[in-house]
C-alpha cells in the first residue's frame, strides 16, 4: 500500500494521512493508491503539512507499518529515547521498528 507522511507545518510533528486529515498515529494511515501527488499538492497548499511524501507501507494485525526503517523510526520516535516516543509507557511498543 502507498501511505503519505510529512510534518505538521507549525509544530514539525510527524503526521500520516488518514483519508481526511493528518494523524500523528501511523496506525491511522490509509492507502492512497495513485492519488498521492494530488493530496500532497492540496495539503501543502493549505499549509497543513510540509515535506510530505509517499512511501510503501504494509498492514498487519497491529495496523499500518512503513516499509523502510527510517519511516518506522519517524512513526514512533527515537529508538534510543523510549521516553520520548508516542508510547512511552509501553516497553513493547517499539518491537516492530527495528
Amino acid at each position: 500500500m502507498k501511505i503519505l507522511t510529512g510534518n505538521n507545518l507549525k509544530t514539525g510533528a510527524v503526521v500520516w494521512w488518514d483519508g481526511q486529515s493528518w494523524s500523528i498515529h501511523v496506525e491511522d494511515a490509509v492507502d492512497v493508491g495513485d492519488r498521492a501527488d494530488d493530496i500532497i499538492s492540496a495539503e501543502e497548499a493549505a499549509r497543513r503539512v510540509v515535506g510530505a511524501y509517499a512511501i510503501d507501507g504494509e498492514k498487519d494485525a497491529q495496523g499500518v507499518r512503513p516499509a523502510h526503517i527510517k519511516d518506522r523510526i519517524r512513526a514512533l520516535g527515537p529508538t534510543v529515547r523510549p521516553d520520548l516516543t508516542l508510547k512511552p509507557a509501553d516497553p513493547e511498543a517499539g518491537n516492530w521498528v527495528i
Binding site: 510534518n7 507545518l9 507549525k10 509544530t11 514539525g12 510533528a13 510527524v14 501543502e44 499549509r47 510540509v50 515535506g51 516499509a67 523502510h68 526503517i69 527510517k70 523510526i73 519517524r74 520516535g77 527515537p78 529508538t79 534510543v80 529515547r81 520520548l84
Partner: protein
C-alpha cells in the same frame, strides 16, 4: 570572553525581527516552503526526522555560564529538556516548533547568541581548541583571531552563496585538538625563527564523501594580514568552486583538482591584488577584541598540588584534566559519555549544573569540545576535588577522556533525515561492552568515531577506529575503518572489508581491540600499533 558591541547586538536583534516576519509570512501563506526553506536554514532551522531541529552557534566553543543557563532554559521551555552538543562545537535541539523559533532566537539574543550561518553554503561557526587561552602549550590565545574571523565572515556579502558550506578552525599549539587539517581552512598560529607570531594556512581538508587532508598552502602569514589572506583563499574558491556538482563543490575538490601549488599560486596572486585595499580590519578593532580575552584574575601562588587520597578522583584527574598555563590551575573535561549514554546529549539540569560549576570554579566560562564534551578551562587545583565530587554526584564524572568509551557519534538515524543507519545505539553498545575500567585502562588512548552516513558528521574517517553506517537494501549495516587520526599527524581510516550488522560491529570492535592488546609494544597506543603492523592482522582477526 567576547562581549557584543552595539553593532553585534543590532545585527542579531535585526535578524530576529526579520526571521519573525518571515515565519509569520510562511504561516500565513504569503511565501511557499520553497521560498521559506533557504530563509529558515540561514537561521539554523532544519526539518529533521521528528520535528524542526535548531542548531545554535557556539563561537569557537566558548560559553559563559549565563549562556549555558539560557541553553538549558530553551531545552526546557521549547524542547524536551535536553540538547545535543555537536562535533562543530555547537548545540542542536531536536523538537522545535516553527512557531516558537523566533522566540527562541530572541531569547538567545539576550545572551549574545544566535543561529546565523549554522547552515547553508556560507562560512560556518569558527571552531578552535577547547583549551584556547588556558593551554600550557599554545603560542598565543587563538580566540581573538577566531573572533575576528567570526566578525569578518558574518554576513560577508561575497561569501553568503559559496559553492558549498565552509568550515574554518583556528588553533595555536603544535598539538592539534581541533581536527584543523580536516577543515576547509585550518589556521595554526605559530612563532617563526625571528620570534614573530603569524599563521600557517592549511587549505582544502574535509571529511564527508571524499575525505582529504589539507595541504599546507602558506607557512607564515603575518598576523596583520591573515584576514586578507583568508579572503584571498575564499575568493579563489568562490570563483572556481564546482557549483555544477554538489559532490564536487567543496574546496577540497578544487584544491585537489587544481593541485596545491596552482591553488596557492592563484591565492598569492589574489592576495597581492587585495593588499592595500583595506580588507584587514583596523588594529583598534583587534585590540578591542583582545581586551575581551584578558586572562581572568588568576590567584598568584595558588597551590599546585592535587589531593591524591581518593583513587577515583585521581583516576578522573589523570584522565580528564589538561595542563594549564597558570601554575595552580588546570582545565577539566566533563565527559558527556557515561557508560551506555547518548554521546553529546545533556539534560537541561545537567547544563544548569555545568553552568553553575563554571561560574563557581572556572571564572564563569565553559567550552564545548569537538569530541562532544564540556571543558571547564580554568579550575584552581585546590578546588578540583570539590568540583569532581559535585560532578560525580550528578553522573558527570566519567573518567574516560580519549578512551574507548569517549565515543563521538552523530545523531544518526534516530534523529537525522540524511542518515542510513543509527549511530547512537552502536555507541551505547560499545560503551557498555568496554565499560570495565580494566578494559579501558588496557586499551589506553583509543578514539572511536561513528557516523550514520557518508557525510561524516561523526568524524569516522578520523577515528583510530571509525564506524560508518550504510543502508544495505533497507537494513542497517556498519563498515569498520582503522587508522584514522585528527591530530597533528592526521591520517584517514581505511575500510577493513565487508560491513557488519549492529551486534556484529560491536564484536568487530572487540576483535580489533584484541589484536592491539596482543600485538602492542611498550608505550604504543592503538594507533601506533596499527601504523606499525598495518591492516592485515586486523583483517585476519575480523574475516579470517
Amino acid at each position: 570572553m567576547y562581549k557584543y558591541d552595539q553593532y553585534d547586538q543590532a545585527m542579531v536583534d535585526t535578524r530576529v525581527a526579520e526571521f519573525r516576519d518571515q515565519v509569520n509570512r510562511r504561516l500565513e501563506g504569503h511565501i511557499t516552503e520553497d521560498q521559506f526553506k533557504p530563509l529558515r536554514l540561514q537561521n539554523g532551522l532544519y526539518l529533521q526526522l521528528h520535528a524542526y531541529m535548531l542548531r545554535v552557534a557556539v563561537p569557537y566553543g566558548t560559553l559563559s555560564s549565563a549562556q549555558m543557563h539560557m541553553l538549558a532554559d530553551i531545552a526546557d521551555k521549547y524542547d524536551r529538556g535536553y540538547g545535543h552538543f555537536t562535533t562543530r562545537q555547537n548545540i542542536q535541539y531536536n523538537w522545535i516548533r516553527l512557531e516558537d523559533a523566533p522566540d527562541i532566537l530572541a531569547d538567545l539574543a539576550t545572551v549574545e547568541m544566535h543561529a546565523i550561518q549554522t547552515s547553508g553554503n556560507c562560512i560556518r561557526n569558527i571552531s578552535s581548541d577547547q583549551y584556547a587561552g588556558a593551554a600550557a602549550d599554545e603560542v598565543i590565545d587563538p580566540r581573538p583571531y577566531a573572533e575576528l574571523l567570526r566578525q569578518w565572515s558574518s554576513f560577508h556579502p561575497e561569501f553568503l552563496a559559496l559553492p558549498r558550506k565552509f568550515k574554518i578552525a583556528v588553533i595555536a599549539s603544535d598539538t592539534d585538538r581541533a581536527a584543523m587539517k580536516l577543515h576547509d581552512i585550518g589556521i595554526r598560529m605559530v612563532r617563526n625563527d625571528a620570534g614573530e607570531i603569524g599563521t600557517q594556512f592549511y587549505v582544502g581538508g574535509g571529511m564527508g564523501r571524499t575525505p582529504m587532508i589539507a595541504p599546507l598552502i602558506r607557512d607564515f602569514v603575518p598576523l596583520d594580514q591573515f584576514v586578507t589572506y583568508s579572503e584571498a583563499c575564499l575568493r579563489v574558491y568562490n570563483r572556481h568552486g564546482r557549483r555544477d556538482n554538489k559532490y564536487k563543490a567543496r574546496i577540497k575538490i578544487l584544491v585537489h583538482e587544481l593541485g596545491a601549488e596552482e591553488y596557492k599560486r592563484q591565492v598569492e596572486e589574489e592576495f597581492a591584488h587585495l593588499q592595500g585595499q583595506g580588507i584587514e580590519p583596523p588594529l583598534a578593532e583587534l585590540e578591542r577584541i583582545k581586551a575581551c580575552f584578558q586572562d581572568p584574575a588568576f590567584e598568584a601562588g595558588a597551590p599546585d598540588e592535587v589531593d591524591a587520597s581518593d583513587p577515583d578522583f585521581v583516576l578522573w584527574t589523570d584522565r580528564n584534566c589538561h595542563p594549564h598555563k597558570q601554575p595552580g590551575y588546570i582545565s577539566a573535561t566533563i565527559s558527556l559519555k557515561p557508560v551506555g549514554g547518548i554521546p553529546g546529549d545533556a539534560s537541561a539540569d545537567q547544563m544548569r549544573l555545568m553552568a553553575d560549576l563554571a561560574k563557581e570554579y572556572s571564572f564563569d566560562e565553559c567550552r564545548v569540545t569537538h569530541a562532544q564534551n564540556i571543558v571547564l578551562p580554568h579550575v584552581r587545583k585546590a578546588d578540583l576535588y570539590t568540583l569532581w565530587r559535585k560532578l560525580d554526584e550528578a553522573g558527570l564524572g566519567t573518567p574516560n577522556l580519549d578512551r574507548i568509551g569517549d565515543i563521538i557519534a552523530c545523531p544518526g538515524l534516530d534523529y537525522c533525515s540524511l542518515a542510513n543507519a543509527r549511530s547512537i545505539p552502536v555507541a551505547q553498545k560499545i560503551s557498555e561492552r568496554f565499560a570495565a575500567q580494566e578494559k579501558q585502562d588496557a586499551l589506553g588512548e583509543l578514539k572511536l568515531k561513528i557516523s550514520g552516513c557518508i557525510n561524516a558528521c561523526g568524524h569516522h574517517h578520523a577515528g583510530h577506529i571509525g564506524i560508518l553506517g550504510v543502508d544495505r537494501k533497507g537494513v542497517e549495516n556498519y563498515q569498520l575503518l582503522l587508522g584514522g587520526c585528527e591530530g597533528e599527524d592526521t591520517s584517514l581510516g581505511k575500510i577493513t572489508g565487508p560491513g557488519f550488522d549492529e551486534d556484529g560491529i560491536v564484536d568487530a570492535v572487540e576483535k580489533a581491540a584484541d589484536v592491539y592488546l596482543r600485538e602492542k609494544q611498550e608505550g604504543e597506543r592503538f594507533l601506533d600499533t596499527y601504523r606499525r603492523i598495518g591492516i592485515d592482522p586486523f583483517k585476519e582477526a575480523l574475516y579470517g
